[in-house]
Symmetry: C2
Subunit: 383 residues, 2 copies
Amino acid sequence: MSITHPQGFRAAGVVAGLKSTGAKDLALVVNDGPTFDSASVFTSNRCKANPVLWSQEVVKDGVVKAVVLNSGGANCYTGPDGFQTTHAVAEQVAARVGIGAIDVVVCSTGLIGLANDRGALLAGVDAAAEQLAADGGTAAAEAIMTTDSVSKQVVVEGAGWSIGGMAKGAGMLAPQLATMLVVLTTDAVVPAAELDAALRAATRVSFDRLDSDGCMSTNDTVTLLASGASGITPTPADFTAALTQACTDLAMQLLADAEGADHEIAITTVNAASEDDAVAVGRSVARSNLFKAAIFGNDPNWGRVLASIGTTDAVFDPADLDVAMNGVWVCRNSTPHADPATVDLKPRSVSVTIDLKSGDHRATVWTNDLTHAYVHENSAYSS
Amino acid sequence: MSITHPQGFRAAGVVAGLKSTGAKDLALVVNDGPTFDSASVFTSNRCKANPVLWSQEVVKDGVVKAVVLNSGGANCYTGPDGFQTTHAVAEQVAARVGIGAIDVVVCSTGLIGLANDRGALLAGVDAAAEQLAADGGTAAAEAIMTTDSVSKQVVVEGAGWSIGGMAKGAGMLAPQLATMLVVLTTDAVVPAAELDAALRAATRVSFDRLDSDGCMSTNDTVTLLASGASGITPTPADFTAALTQACTDLAMQLLADAEGADHEIAITTVNAASEDDAVAVGRSVARSNLFKAAIFGNDPNWGRVLASIGTTDAVFDPADLDVAMNGVWVCRNSTPHADPATVDLKPRSVSVTIDLKSGDHRATVWTNDLTHAYVHENSAYSS
């Protein structure tokens, strides 16, 4: 159900023939209104894919009536011809759905530098438009999968309104949203400006704090569509809370399905001088290949945590840091404390707690371990 | 020969018993003068090991008469007792060699958070002092190895003077010198201020541009000792050139022996608006796990190069980038050019050239691929 759980949306997922496997590879989501307010965030990578360049223009007026997404090719660094492919896809959606192309967000994912077959895409749009249905959410969620092993969907219920969401992404997950595609829908009545504020608040503490492998994508897009079909206007606080819950749920699904990972790692920094400090410290640990390889080896190597903290500009005393792994304080006052052998790292879920003793702010950053399977999957992706 | 090739130096490498393997684990290098000028650079990690905290004070007056190094334990995050161990080792060297402890640089490498056995260290110093010899360079170079598979040594000949060097490091190699220990010797007559300028110039384009795995150590130290025993004063330009050659040679030895690597990768950024831009672009690619895993898989995945460039603030037009791999321009004007299948990535040595078309500066950053062996070695290091 996911994105078609809220009222006012239809969706479809079809086989356009871009994927060599013959799996579904084109999704279409249409907002039937009565409102068409929207908000979006995109990758901050300066090397942006053609669909991002297109969609950034589409979303400027706050009105989006459809989102079309394809897997099987990122349409990134494919030149002017690739941009024309994106434009043609938007025009085709517009013609089939009866809207303007300038209200159609386009998303693509897959290999960079590979031109997508325009004919296959346009035929796929035709097929998807035929199959648009109020129960098409799951088919759409399946059509955007690449190396994902499962589709990611969520529903959060409000008081008479709801939020639905779907996401794809299993690699290139990084701070500024990376090859992650997310579509969120709601039947609440929320104007575009409020959607934007809520979306930025929600992504800041969810997708933005997921750093699976430190790599930033060229195609990341998160688009939120509001149909207003419930006729209900929630308070901004209620809506933001529900949206944050939906984004966090999808982020945890992405984390759990990250390429080749054996562990999901939550790094929580407490007593930081600022929230930015807490995020910077968590991120530095999340990006340490040595730390991530140690977790893969079930090795509570807290020295690699301290070595990462030391690379940041956060406020702390290097001689007075505490570190816990899975609740065991293996380091107190920057010296060995509990026996690391008492830390059981076999469960998939690992927590690292870092006490900076410099304030009262905190933040959690999520990452995965660095495994043989990660190396294997990413050394063989395009071959 | 290495560090004992220049006149005026004696060295030794002995078994102190810190390594469980019974291999050599303590090295001593003594400058017999007549000059005792020196220069040093240390890790920029804020979480510094006890020997770094000690040695930073030692080097302040430009006079260093001996360097004592141990493998088998980093003496980092071992608390005040660990600092006292470092101090005791310096005092022991001073007593045995007949100098002041404040002229003794101490270096340690190995696991963080592990207290070194002080008694074993002091006995090791006694043994090393007994064995100091004018041909002890190789034994010293062997004693500082940890996961290194070979010792790293270099000799560069000047006109009547020379430079010798030894290095260790096979993981945690990162921009600001990371668990890399390097001792450089020369019998040239060079005052401390000139040594400092030459060392900073040499490390800036050698060790500082080596980014094997993006992790920054807590213990990195590079110390340069000048005995003046040749009686010859080279020009600053000649000395800096020879020192740069020595440092670059050692850096390439470190690169070639990086933990688990299958490829040495040289990323050269040309036509950059500044040297800083060129380094930032090269470093961003060197730190992309996805790019590094692709090289391991012999996959010329230039899309991952562009995705990394896009994360930097360097001056460039995202729509006009050229990328070559092993001399084949797989991307021109940010669009596919030569067939990637024509790039042969089987040789260990890989070159990536990035043309930013924004100026006339260039820089090379070196890294390794991300392999199963890297993950294995670093998931099992302390267990």
